[in-house]
């Protein structure tokens, strides 16, 4: 297993380099260093001199990938790509284009993102599995039919609708909770988390419940379930002990890979609920053309995704003894 993991870690390096190259290409196709300078300096009274100075101070006065005016290895190293990437791969994220330490910001913002995403993940997973099991239990009945219909409807609705709807009902009409914001203390924060967590769970309910129900129904038709029933186990015991355990393997595929991404936070949710997390950090950076932050967040996102895939493989092996990692 260790050999397998080492191999996966080595595979990750070209993937991360590739993602970094694509990020560079995409970003600089849309924004030139001059655009970035203008965005930072403001649009009024910006002189060509000021733009040149900003680019020089921030290391954007070099060619992107290849410096034809340099000699030897400097042709590659004296470029924006090299200068900005090498430190990042050593996890030295440096400062954003407005001068703030990115690592510090990430540390500060990770907490609020996790405060929303972890409850959504844990409570959501529990609820989705419980509901899916319930529908499987009542399969073929009107309850199952309407449950599936509601799931299909729910998955067709945009997250925006849930956000605005929840804010309207819970905070505007019934005045139960603050419409947005974040608390001063952990205790105070709880009341700000209820709404985004609720929205997060509801937004994921439709697709997840429907998918998990399919997994359960697939397992229910198998021989070992018939055997369990024949042995006289109640339907609850069959579902809870046998079907759930075996259906967990496909569920893990989608779930474990999402665990590292919880750090990244929710882009829309954080913006609408005023959660000072990493999701809103990324959105702000894109809007402000802060390439330093964008590339770091893309790098962390891809790194976490790779970690998620590795964790998925590991969890397979742990959940199913038939799976061996070689």
């Amino acid at each position: 297993m260790i050999g397998y993991l080492l191999r996966r870690v080595l595979y990750a390096i070209p993937i991360l380099v590739g993602v970094n190259v694509i990020t560079f290409l995409l970003f600089f196709t849309v924004n030139t260093p001059d655009d970035m300078a203008r965005m930072q300096l403001g649009v009024k009274r910006v002189t060509p001199d000021a733009i040149a100075r900003w680019k020089q101070d921030h290391g954007y006065d070099k060619p992107l990938f290849y410096n034809a005016h340099a000699a030897g290895g400097a042709r590659v190293t004296d470029t924006i790509f090299y200068a900005k990437s090498v430190r990042m791969f050593a996890f030295d994220f440096g400062a954003s284009d407005d001068g703030r330490d990115i690592a510090h910001e990430i540390r500060r913002r990770m907490g609020p993102s996790l405060a929303v995403q972890v409850p959504v993940f844990v409570a959501g997973l529990g609820l989705y599995i419980a509901l899916a099991l319930g529908f499987a239990f009542f399969r073929g009945t009107a309850l199952d039919f309407w449950g599936v219909v509601i799931c299909v409807v729910a998955m067709s609705i945009s997250t925006m609708f849930y956000i605005v709807g929840a804010q309207y009902l819970i905070s505007k009409l019934w005045l139960w909770l603050p419409i947005s914001g974040y608390g001063e203390t952990p205790q105070d924060t709880l009341r700000f988390l209820v709404l985004p967590v609720m929205v997060g769970i509801i937004a994921g309910l439709g697709p997840s419940v429907r998918t998990y129900r399919t997994f359960f129904l697939e397992e229910i038709g198998k021989d070992y379930v018939r055997t369990a029933r024949a042995k006289g186990l109640t339907e609850g015991a069959v579902l809870g002990r046998h079907v759930l355990h075996n259906a967990l393997i496909p569920i893990l595929t989608g779930v474990v890979v999402a665990i590292p991404a919880l750090f990244i936070g929710g882009l829309l949710t954080e913006s609408f609920f005023g959660i000072p997390g990493l999701g809103s950090y990324t959105i702000d950076a894109v809007n402000q053309q802060d390439f330093a932050i964008v590339r770091v967040m893309v790098f962390i996102g891809s790194l976490l995704y790779i970690v998620g895939l590795m964790l998925t493989d590991l969890s397979y092996a742990l959940a199913d003894p038939r799976v061996k990692l070689q």
């Binding site: 849309v30 030139t32 649009v43 009274r45 001199d49 239990f137 505007k172 005045l175 914001g181």
Partner: protein, 735 residues
């Protein structure tokens, strides 16, 4: 559960809910419960500020903080209109002293051509002190406590409050000079360095000197070390004595006084810069760019731009009083009720980050923000137009005690013609320029900005008659102020009336485009509009614009693009017609007229003349007008310039936006001031009324909770029953 226990539980639940609803802080209160009742102003900001260093901050989302903290020598009178400069930390408004090229003093009546330099001597008031700050902290022996820290002493300090000792010191003239020098400091990117280098004697060279000094430091391995600007004299900014400094300007630039009311010219204590320049500070995000140090009414005590920014009253703020005079009508409006009271009137200002409009608006309605703008989505809920077209607050808002404040912004939004374009700008010969001029005039008549304001801005704006917005010297009201190329005066209505479309069509014929067809080659006239269209509303505006051009048979092809590409096109002169706008830096016609000054051409000099308009007569008049004091003679020059510009029509003059703002009944001394930014010190709040209203407006509605509990119990009971039946059932139906 037996019936008695069930009844007891129900009673307990009801009592809990009723208790929660009836007492304590409202459930939806976004602020800590112990914050209620304070003399605090609550506002929102929608974008985190990038810079809080006065030498760099220029955007509205930055200056709303820095203007409360830093005090330049001058400021604008809060109530008087037209806008009037008054002293802030200065003893009095500085007077210009003119010198010839040899440095010899000239009299006040000296001709402009003889004036080589202007000197302003600024006297600041003694006894003004900085806010408490660790950079000033001294021990019992008078030694600075935090000025020579080792990196290890800084490693665990990430906030300013991690330096428990603070101190202060008196404001000195040298601090103002230091800030002027900082405009040129390497690593800081002041947006006004280019402009000020044209005026302040020696500033351009000073920037080069400092760059060389910084390079020498870097070569010596001391790249991050503090560069003490006091070691590098600047000819254009000198200290005369502790309370006097002198600024030397090239030629005449009377608008310089307006710049002296901006944070770019606020004092910065060198010890604060030195404090933040210590190794390890920047790595911990401790910088002057993030922790401002000023003498103003407020100091930034919490800087969490991801969530909340808190300004607290500066305990060392000088004795400044609320104005005792204003415009006629101010007294009746209650704006002089606090005359003579010591400023600031509020103890604290809390700004909460609110990126989205829906939460912002609803929190305002719930009383959690003291003021709010009005988004298009909420306009009908907040404002209705009366029979005369005047904006009135709706009954629902009035019932809540909300007041509407409106003001025409000192801004202009226009559509520019690229004068380098052969079709709309004309060629090198007079005949083609005349054709293009008539075409532009025809379009000016056809594009009905009154309609645009009505449809897309809910009436929030006035159609522009020229480059100057109301509130700026030179703007003319009524019949004298109309643009005769586009309007006639309707004496009955007492308002301008747009010329009929037949006039525009006639101009099209004269321009050589009868029926929208180029008479020279028989091709239909197709024009291109470059815009940064982002949403569905932008699309509607573009469709509307196409219809306006179609009135005179011109095919308009919008070319929506992103902002970067758009800027690039305008910079390179590749746009044909484009949207653009300008917000006044200061209330002087020069600040608008220079947008059409030839040497400011965007393509030629990357200046602010985006239309690349060049008219020698306008340029000559501009050079004459810019140095004149506000007077009938200056008005006459402006009228002549405006007349030529209207005839030439390099812009569709567009509109001047009208800003609408809503305030709750507990906020006092609200008077829109579109130029000054340091106005929070004048605002007064009635926290008792606010608390009462918040409680009254935010009583939670409890029946849905009870209904949800009942429904949940019902479903649970039903589920359990079905489960039991399922589990105890037999495979075969009973016979």
């Amino acid at each position: 559960m037996n019936p008695h226990a069930r009844r007891a539980a129900a009673a307990l639940f009801t009592a809990l809910l009723a208790g929660a609803a009836g007492c304590g802080s409202p459930w939806n209160n976004p602020y800590p419960a112990d914050a209620s009742g304070g003399n605090v102003l609550y506002y929102a900001f929608n974008e985190r500020p990038k810079h809080l260093d006065p030498v760099q901050s220029y955007n509205e989302n930055e200056i709303q903080f820095t203007a409360q903290i830093y005090e330049p020598p001058l400021q604008y009178h809060y109530l008087k209109r037209p806008y009037e400069l008054i002293p802030a930390t200065a003893e009095r408004l500085p007077e210009a002293r003119y010198l010839d090229a040899r440095g010899k003093a000239l009299g006040a009546g000296a001709p402009s051509s003889a004036i080589a330099y202007t000197v302003y001597e600024i006297h600041i008031r003694p006894g003004i002190y900085y806010q408490p700050h660790p950079a000033f902290a001294r021990d019992a022996q008078g030694r600075a406590v935090y000025q020579d820290l080792a990196p290890a002493d800084i490693r665990d300090r990430h906030e300013l409050r991690d330096f428990p000792l603070t101190g202060t010191r008196e404001l000195k003239a040298a601090d103002y000079v230091y800030e002027i020098k900082r405009l040129a400091r390497p690593g800081l990117h002041s947006p006004v360095l280019g402009l000020m280098s044209d005026y302040i004697v020696g500033l351009g060279d000073y920037a080069k000197t400092l760059q060389q000094a910084a390079a020498r430091q870097k070569a010596a391995g001391r790249g991050g070390a503090w560069l003490d600007l006091a070691q590098y004299p600047l000819e254009g900014a000198e200290v005369v004595d502790d309370y006097t400094y002198r600024v030397k300007i090239k030629g005449q630039y009377p608008q310089f006084l307006y710049w002296l009311a901006m944070p770019f010219f606020a004092p910065v204590p060198p010890e604060a810069e030195r404090f933040f320049a210590q190794p390890g500070m920047e790595e911990n995000n401790l910088s002057l760019d993030w922790y401002p140090v000023g003498t103003g009414p407020y100091m930034l005590t919490r800087n969490d731009p991801n969530r909340v920014m808190v300004l607290d009253r500066n305990p060392n703020f000088r004795d400044e009083r609320y104005p005792d005079s204003g415009e006629p009508g101010d007294e009746a409006a209650g704006l002089l009720a606090d005359a003579g009271k010591r400023l600031p009137l509020a103890d604290r200002v809390v700004f909460t980050l609110e990126k989205e409009g829906i939460p912002y608006w609803n929190k305002f309605l719930q009383g959690y923000y003291d003021g709010s703008g009005i988004a298009s989505d909420n306009f009908d809920q907040a404002v209705q137009l009366d029979s005369r077209g005047q904006a009135q607050i709706t009954d629902a808002m009035r019932k809540q005690g909300i007041a509407l404040s409106t003001a025409v912004a000192t801004s202009t939004v226009y559509m520019g013609f690229n004068m380098l374009d052969p079709v709309v700008g004309g060629g090198p010969d007079e005949a083609s320029r005349a054709r293009a001029r008539k075409l532009r005039q025809a379009i000016s008549i056809a594009v009905d900005f009154e309609e645009q304001i009505s449809i897309f801005r809910n009436g929030r704006g006035i159609a522009a008659q020229g480059p100057l917005p109301p509130g700026i010297f030179g703007y003319r009201e009524g019949e004298a102020g109309i643009n005769p190329v586009v309007y006639t005066w309707d004496a009955q209505a007492g308002a301008p009336r747009r010329r009929p479309i037949s006039d525009a069509k006639k101009l099209m014929v004269e321009a050589g485009y009868p029926g929208g067809v180029d008479s020279r080659n028989g091709q239909p006239l197709v024009l291109h509009l470059d815009v940064t269209a982002r949403n569905s509303e932008d699309k509607s505006v573009l469709e509307w614009m196409q219809r306006q051009f179609a009135k005179i048979d011109i095919q308009l092809e919008p070319r929506p693009t992103d902002y970067n590409r758009f800027q690039d096109k305008v910079l390179k002169g590749n746009a044909q017609i484009f949207w653009w706008g300008w917000n006044a830096d200061y209330p002087d016609p020069e600040n608008f007229m220079f947008l059409l000054y030839g040497p400011q051409s965007k393509v030629a000099t990357q200046g602010e003349n985006a239309a690349n308009y060049r008219n020698p007569e306008v340029d000559r008049l501009f050079e004459q007008m810019k140095d004149m004091p506000n007077s009938p003679a200056r008005q006459e020059v402006i009228d002549r310039m405006t007349g030529i510009l209207r005839e030439d029509a390099p812009w569709l003059w567009g509109l001047h936006p009208k800003d609408y703002a809503l305030y709750h009944a507990w906020v006092h001394n609200v008077k829109p001031n579109k130029i000054a930014n340091n106005t929070l010190k004048y605002k007064r709040v009635d926290p008792v009324l606010r608390d009462q209203m918040r409680r009254a407006w935010n009583r939670p509605v409890l029946w849905p909770l009870a209904a949800a509990a009942v429904l949940l119990a019902l479903f649970a009971g039903l589920g359990m029953r079905t489960w039991r039946r399922h589990e105890s059932g037999t495979a075969r139906e009973a016979a």
